[in-house]
Symmetry: C2
Subunit: 779 residues, 2 copies
């Protein structure tokens, strides 16, 4: 093995800051850097203190990088050369078919979970309100609290024992996956199961959380499961769809899945596409737009026909299958200066409170991290505790609200409503009266939002009611997010924003010509802008929910202001969570510190390299000794006069070659033909995450260890390389835009070893770089 | 100057197809390749038979590449190091401010051109219908024809003499620009002027063409003009917005402008963003989504308030400022199998007829190319001839249509309408009757579309009427596009599609529950899908026009089918035109032939290189002798023991350095300090297209010619490089995804010249590559 001395890096032309701080150890698919990296949410367990670990859901998981580069080796070339028109057509058809399958599956899941929530929560609320009707208030409270606690405990137990990765929103994890960070658990079938069931139980338990974020994660999981042809672990495999051999195709499918998730959550197909584009995906191309849109359209159509089916009352006690769908419309086409001023005020408020929400959420997540770290029982206790607090708030606060007489124009069947969804809840009030706070608290979140958004009902909720609700929901939303149940952030944010907006509308009263329902909508938009910092997708989702495009200018304005204000304080909530979880996310814009450095400054060398015809024993030992994923292959004597870079070989391909036992006694080239005689190109296909052979399972004999293997057929002959004095900022652009996993650094001057090291995702993390040069890079 | 021999390329490891065909001449910012390249639309004039020429509008223009790489030289580093927080903030504010300025400007232009068309065309139609009312039919016809011919001739004369680049839709040119192809004329101020005025005259002249495509081009022109701080040529410069120094920022702004153009044309802000994303832009990032959306929102708001202002009748005889805005809605929420079958049929028809349209259009454009090539008078004659044909059709065909009695439920003021816009045109009919064909032909195109889309008026147009109109519009749309006036394709396509769709709806009659107006809308969607192959953006534009999101599933379905069917036959109309015009467009997916080749196969060497401290005379002579834009700089003795690649230097920077006369008597490094003493970083900013210094204007004396200049400060030290045996397909991915202009090819083995050549955009054109290896690469 070639082992270039570390010192030759010092021959670099001195850049202002290029002073290596310390001798660094051999390292490359990075997995190092402990000290310099920002401490993730949880202290890492055991002896593994490397950044190969990150928090996924609520547990620490092993992470790998994904590789979107085309591995151009002989196997690949042979494979595509052998493909005829039919195979290419089949491939195209499969891509489309799978996308549409994902769309329908996600649509069905969205419908199912919605019906389940409506029935479970509806049944719970019916029992409670029946007891209330007979004035058995204490019993009602206890029953309500007990139901919630049981549901919450079940959800938490599922999450804690079966799939810790299913906790939380899942959007940060999906975002990281689409950026190229893989942890087996992110998209595993168990995660999918717990995400669906846990989300149903969590929402039914009356928590202030949504099923929208979890739907996005669910969509991604479904796409992943279908994309890798089922799960071998659970004996669910469909060979006919085992078609996608690489991370690139899977990434596209998972992007479609995430978009379909948004669609299933909001019935917003265009919004789903834009969400995937704006928030979820790190890479995008025109062709994907088209496929994603088809996926979301299918999801929307499936959802719509199922809802039609349920309208006839076939879906249980409560299930009408209606997701949130509002009926706000702005018939006002000209706005006064007061209207605009009110909207601007709302935007600023949303921005400030949204930024505060993000700040507090970070703090709470760190605290919860310490509790969750103690083990599964603690997770469940925490969840139940929060559930009890939520129950107390929901049931206790309405007592503070006086009973309001029903609007005289409404029939008795619409006010007060008992045990059904509706605007006016009777609670403990006499006949003909309703309790405004109960109408918001003792209801599913979807119904509460519908109530807040309802137009033409200016007097339904008073200012105090709305203020109480706002404070309660804002705080409960914060403390709920970190518990070990699948929990989305959309609903708490929309609820807080809508109550604040409606309150502002009430306060302004006749000063503006806008409806209070419209104010609630704008408030929700401003909070969404302030926390999530999404603009176009939120705007379009809200437009699709209200089905009135004339609202666009106002929603845009409020979003623009809220985002701009909030951006002055901190990052969007998902970006913040990604960072806190220690997921190595590649940002679009590299850190400023990269501009002062060159690639040679951060690369650690010398790398472990293989000779183009290498001893089997040496390969096996290296694979056992390190966790690295890519190894440079050098062409040396007798195949080349001086060592030169032949290419890059992947761990998984080496293992396949070892398993195929394509060895020779002497150090000679065997060539590709020998490989194809024993192995098919599909054997080299990348296994789904978490699967794949291990080097210890191969059982190589001592005799075989002394033989040689020819790496030429599996060597990627065209790895992307940069010269050592390439600016690190530009190397980062190359690395990210092309979605690489490894980038070889080659020397500038001749007479040096042909490869100085390999840059990976972790080498571009600002924390790592700043840690390396902490004496020099200050800010 | 280092001059490595061409032969050393032959030392490459033989790849299957790597057999250089012929000794190629020194060449790199490419500008070569005549024979191998597909013949552009027009035969190229004069002696310049290189691919530096392409058809822009209707004339052949010189084209350059744009450069989106960050030129990391000392000047750049000095510049960003010196920037404080205030400068960065100012830069951000300027970016936003300019985007919003572009939005309002484009909104105003859109409004203005719409009002102008309504008034000019309205006045023309009023005169004609007054004559018709007095039964002076022949006079009416002659007047109508004369008005049209004069308007057409004016538009054509403006186009032919003032700005040939303004002819046609402009979308292909904008698309090429955003892909990195620059011709001064594409976005020049004269083009902007002619595009607006010519488009108004063209549309008023009754041609079957739209102002939507030209609006996109107008938006891009406005953005370009503002982005480079006005036009020096016309004495319109605003120094405070002279802020964007590079192609990257200008590209972003022009993307915003194109999106605003769509918004101004259709009042569709979300559709505008998606159009820019799906069709116009080649590079996209999240931040741009947000800025583009703000631009389109501003454009939409400006447009909307101006239209409000016009509602009160302040905008002339006809101007109500209403762009096309339909009132179709689908109250049907469940579709029968017949409905779906009808929609599928419509999709297939749209796909077939759309593909046929593209095919015929290509043929017609080639024919017109020969006529247009003969000179400006021929262009005008062709335009007037087509105008006469159009007039004859519009005025003649209605005579074939019988008079229909007005629907009894309508008041006399609504049927028949005389001289106003409206559904029922009297033409030559007696009182109480209307002429259906005249209602479509003798109307502005916007009104005709509104008529076709109108719901609840099933019996207004008969099947024969619709068939006649369809055939006429389809053919006229085809023959109109290539004439020398600004002409969009949206309107002819929508008109043909809508008439076909409505006809199908009529034929199916009571078999479906869908309205004929809805059928017209779906027909338009299917034709748009079949010709333009846009999906998401067309879908959203139609949704925004109708303001009914419940139509989404049907529109999606029809678009999907139409696009899929049409894709079996040919490419989208804009892609086809880009290719016919010979614009070197970089596709997302490289050609299949690239997979068999390596970078060394297509690069032509040896390149012209400079020494890091070069003789002034040598630089000046090289700049005079060649048109190349980038030159590798080699570090050689006494600055390095052996020649090594120092970086890449740009022509424009060399000229600035020459103008600054930073010369020394001896061959020594002067360093960056000397440069900064005489020049500011802004002096190196890239001039707007068409501007910039020329080497002949510098007046270097004979004595100065013998001096030396230090190129280190202006050398980009981190050019992107690939090794000669890098697969060409992967090199193409790198080139396109990073938006490069030059990519250095370096040798694999030591002991060779440090750079073998430079790859540019033209080297990745499939035609060029296939031309090089025509004996081997067959398909």
């Amino acid at each position: 093995m070639a082992a270039p001395a570390r010192e030759n890096v010092a021959e670099l032309p001195p850049t202002p800051l290029a002073t290596p701080m310390s001798a660094r150890s051999v390292r490359w698919d990075v997995e190092d850097g402990g000290a310099g990296l920002e401490r993730p949410l949880l202290r890492q367990r055991g002896s593994n203190t490397t950044s190969q670990m990150a928090v996924v859901g609520v547990n620490v998981s092993h992470i790998e990088s994904l590789d979107y580069e085309i591995v151009e080796n002989d196997v690949y070339k042979q494979d595509w050369r052998s493909r005829g028109r039919i195979q290419i057509f089949q491939y195209q058809v499969m891509k489309w078919l799978l996308a549409l399958l994902v769309g329908s599956a996600v649509g069905m899941v969205g419908f199912f979970s919605n019906i389940a929530v409506e029935n479970i929560a509806g049944f719970k609320l019916l029992l409670t309100s029946n007891l209330m009707l007979h004035n058995r208030h204490m019993e009602a409270f206890l029953l309500y609290m007990f139901c919630n606690a049981v549901l919450a405990a079940t959800a938490a137990a599922l999450c804690a024992y079966l799939a810790p990765a299913a906790a939380g929103s899942g959007i940060p994890e999906v975002k990281a996956y689409l950026n190229g960070v893989d942890a087996h658990s992110i998209l595993a079938p168990s995660t999918l199961f717990v995400k669906i069931v846990g989300s149903i139980f969590g929402v039914s338990a009356g928590f202030v959380l949504g099923k929208e974020g979890p739907m996005v994660h669910t969509g991604a999981c479904v796409a992943s499961l279908l994309g890798q042809g089922g799960s071998r672990k659970y004996g669910l495999t469909w060979n006919w769809i085992r078609y996608f051999k690489n991370d690139l195709d899977r990434r596209d499918l998972i992007t479609c899945g995430a978009a379909a998730g948004v669609t299933a959550a909001f019935r917003a197909p265009v919004g789903g596409v834009l969400f995937a584009l704006e928030e979820a995906a790190s890479w995008w191309r025109s062709a994907l737009l088209w496929r994603t849109f088809s996926t979301t359209a299918v999801a929307a159509m499936v959802l719509r026909s199922l809802i039609e089916y349920c309208r006839s009352g076939n879906c249980g006690l409560f299930g009408k299958g209606g997701l949130i769908m509002f009926d706000v419309s702005s018939r006002v086409t000209a706005y006064t200066a007061t209207d605009i001023a009110a909207v601007i005020l709302l935007g600023i408020l949303g921005g400030l409170l949204g930024a505060l929400f993000n700040f507090l959420l970070g703090w709470i997540l760190r605290t919860y991290g310490i509790i969750n770290e103690k083990g599964a029982p603690f997770k469940i206790i925490l969840t139940v505790a929060i559930s009890l607090v939520t129950s107390c708030c929901s049931f206790g606060l309405p007592w503070l609200s006086p009973c309001t007489p029903c609007p005289p124009e409404l029939p008795a069947s619409r006010c007060p409503t008992i045990g059904r969804s509706g605007n006016f809840k009777k609670f403990s009030c006499p006949a003909g009266h309703y309790n405004a706070l109960a109408s918001l608290f003792l209801n599913t979140n979807d119904d509460a939002i519908r109530n807040l958004f309802s137009g033409g009902t200016d007097s339904e909720f008073g200012v105090t009611t709305l203020l109480t609700f706002f404070v309660a929901v804002y705080s409960l939303g914060l403390v709920t997010y970190g518990v070990a149940v699948p929990s989305g952030l959309f609903i708490p944010v929309i609820l807080s924003g809508a109550s604040l907006g409606r309150m502002l509308g009430k306060l302004l009263g006749s000063l503006t010509g806008l409806d209070t329902g419209l104010f609630a909508l704008l408030g929700a938009a401003s909070f969404l802008g302030g926390t999530m910092r999404m603009t176009v997708s939120v705007c379009v989702i809200l437009l699709e929910l209200t089905n009135d495009l004339l609202l666009l200018p106002l929603i845009m304005l409020v979003l623009l202001i809220a985002k701009t204000v909030a951006d002055c304080f901190n990052k969007g909530v998902y970006d913040q969570i990604v960072r806190m979880k220690g997921l190595p996310f590649l940002e679009v814009h590299g850190d400023a510190c990269m501009r002062s450095l060159v690639a040679g400054d951060v690369v650690s060398g010398p790398p472990i390299t293989f000779s183009s015809v290498e001893r089997v024993g040496s390969v096996v030992h290296t694979l056992r000794r390190t966790g690295h994923n890519g190894f440079p292959v050098l062409e040396d004597e007798p195949f080349a006069p001086a060592p030169e870079l032949c290419g890059l070989v992947l761990r998984s391909h080496l293992i396949v070659l070892l398993q195929g036992r394509i060895f020779t006694r002497d150090r000679v080239k065997t060539g590709a033909a020998e490989v194809f005689r024993k192995l098919a190109p599909f054997d080299f296909a990348k296994a789904g995450s978490g699967n794949g052979l291990k080097v210890d399972d191969l059982g190589i004999t001592e005799e075989e260890m002394e033989m040689y293997m020819d790496l030429h057929p599996i060597t990627n002959r065209s790895p992307y390389t940069v010269v050592e004095n390439m600016s690190l900022a530009k190397a980062a652009v190359l690395f990210r835009d092309l979605g690489l996993r490894h980038m070889c650094v080659v020397p500038r001057t001749p007479g040096r070893p042909p490869v100085l090291g390999i840059l990976t995702r972790h080498d571009f993390m600002p924390q790592y770089i700043r840690g390396l040069f902490q004496n020099v890079l200050r800010e």
